[in-house]
């Protein structure tokens, strides 16, 4: 699964540690999601979507689809 987490984090001027604290996870988890080594649970994905105030499909997309292009 592809994601735009790194881009969104940069846009909001947040460090990985900042984002981790806001989401209640470890910095390692944020890093693993950004590097696409780990796919977050739906619960965490929705937390991310709520935090950045974007639809979940604008942030996370299946492999092959360009993130943020889903309708």
């Amino acid at each position: 699964m592809k994601n735009r987490l790194r881009v969104l984090r940069a846009e909001h001027n947040l460090s990985q540690a900042d984002l981790a604290a806001k989401l209640g996870v470890s910095r390692q988890t944020i890093n693993a999601i950004e590097t696409e080594k780990y796919e977050p649970s739906l619960t965490l994905a929705f937390k991310v979507a709520n935090l950045f105030e974007q639809p979940i499909e604008q942030i996370f997309t299946p492999n092959g689809d360009k993130p943020g292009t889903n309708t």
Binding site: A17, G24, V25, S26, A32, K37, S41
Partner: protein, 132 residues
């Protein structure tokens, strides 16, 4: 909001439980080699490390509950490596016992359980590396 980064009180409890386990293990081993002591003394002392280890498992379980979803996944993957390796070791020893006599000085229960924990640590290292 829950934060999970960095060492916490749970980690320290876990470390202290591990240290206490090793210390009581050495004491029980020393007492076990004192045949002049009655079994009513040696048996309870021999079981003290097991009680401490049960506490260690309890602390580890609590630590896992406070971890985030990635940490829980890492622990699960570590166990998914450690469990079959432990099973494999027991199968090998069981099969060997059918055809040869294993020296109990080398292969009694107390020699096997450290392998179980080593397998868990190996599994943990592999799982952590995967998500680094």
């Amino acid at each position: 909001m829950r934060t999970v980064a960095g060492p916490n009180r749970g980690s320290r409890s876990l470390l202290w439980a591990a240290i206490l386990f090793v210390l009581t293990l050495f004491v029980s081993m020393a007492v076990g080699e004192m045949p002049q002591l009655p079994a009513t003394v040696r048996v309870p002392i021999a079981l003290v490390p097991a009680v401490i280890f049960a506490y260690f498992i309890y602390q580890q379980r609590r630590q896992l509950d406070t971890g985030d979803e990635l940490e829980q996944r890492i622990q699960l993957e570590a166990l998914s490596i450690a469990y079959p390796l432990t099973f494999l070791l027991l199968v090998i020893l069981g099969q060997l016992e059918r055809v040869i006599t294993l020296n109990p000085e080398d292969w009694d229960y107390s020699h096997i359980w450290p392998f179980v924990y080593i397998f868990y640590i190996v599994g943990l290292m592999i799982a952590r590396k995967r998500y680094q």
